[in-house]
């Protein structure tokens, strides 16, 4: 542990404890939106419902986001070894995959919008857009954090012995991924099977 980092009385790095407390609260945050979505699943008010989802397309973007967790953890591993060049390469790869996922979501929202699924069309539409939109916002924030990490590392402001900074951003990124693991199953796949069969 570096000397400028205080540990808590639990003997844990206070930054990691803070991050995990934040992530714990974020599970509740997304839990509320997932709950609302499930409860409003069949309230389409005559508008489009889950049949509008393009599962093959969403599967590909889900896969891209899942694999971004691998590049993120490899970036952290490279940082723990002091290999800053490789760390930056993996950070860029992670941010790139996040951008691909976000681009896919923007495209998906555009298609849904043109097919009549607007934010105020129905409780189903509102709960879907709020849930997936907030997740997209988290991905966007993650990309900003990754970009900052890249620039700060390039300018030498993040040093090879400060790997907890990469780990913290990694925790946030993996959280974004883990939430999508839940959303992909609960929001897309299960309703598609349950409603359409």
């Amino acid at each position: 542990m570096s000397t400028d980092v205080a540990t808590t009385t639990l003997g844990i790095d206070h930054r990691k404890l803070g991050m995990w407390t934040f992530l714990g609260s974020e599970f509740l945050f997304f839990g509320a939106f997932v709950s609302a979505y499930l409860l409003y699943l069949d309230t389409t008010a005559g508008g489009p419902g889950v049949e509008i989802f393009d599962i093959p397309f969403t599967s590909i973007s889900s896969f891209v986001l899942l694999m971004s967790s691998l590049t993120m953890v490899l970036a952290h591993h490279a940082h723990t070894k002091g290999d800053m060049r490789r760390m930056r390469m993996w950070i860029l790869a992670t941010a790139g995959q996040g951008a691909v996922f976000l681009g896919g979501q923007v495209f998906e929202f555009n298609v849904f919008f043109r097919e009549g699924l607007e934010l105020s069309t129905s409780p189903f539409a509102s709960s879907f857009y709020v849930l997936t939109g907030f997740h997209g916002l988290h991905v966007f924030v993650g990309i900003l954090l990754l970009s900052s990490l890249y620039v700060l590392s390039l300018t030498g402001k993040i040093k090879p012995n400060q790997d907890v900074k990469t780990e913290m951003i990694g925790l946030y990124w993996h959280f974004v991924d883990i939430i999508w693991v839940v959303i992909f199953t609960v929001v897309y796949l299960i309703p598609e099977i349950a409603v359409i069969g």
Partner: protein
């Protein structure tokens, strides 16, 4: 700044972390599980489809949390924080489901 300076002492030193090869193996497992999930859309798994999807989701969740977020190797306090948030989320869903059920219950 040298790009491959070996750090004197990293901040996370002392924790056992997996090797890159292990991370890649986990990613392969996750990819296979995702392919299985997606197959439920194309193939008819009958009544086991939804339970299967839930199990696959939980397994993927645990793999990412345990290996990529290092919960398997870090202090158990972090796991407790995560599971507390999850437990609250499940309780919230249960309460909302019960309230909705009573909202739609026939009145006498």
């Amino acid at each position: 700044m040298s790009t491959t300076d070996a750090p004197d002492q990293t901040e996370s030193e002392g924790h056992a972390h997996p090797t890159p090869k292990q991370y890649v193996n986990i990613a392969i497992v996750l990819a296979v599980l995702t392919a299985l999930e997606v197959s439920t859309y194309f193939l008819d798994f009958g009544t086991i489809a939804i339970p299967m999807l839930v199990v696959l989701m939980v397994v993927k969740f645990l793999y990412v949390a345990g290996w990529f977020m290092h919960l398997k190797f870090d202090s158990p306090i972090f796991s407790r924080l995560m599971y507390t948030g999850l437990a609250f989320a499940l309780v919230l869903y249960a309460v909302m489901a019960i309230v909705t059920l009573f909202d739609h219950a026939p009145t006498i």
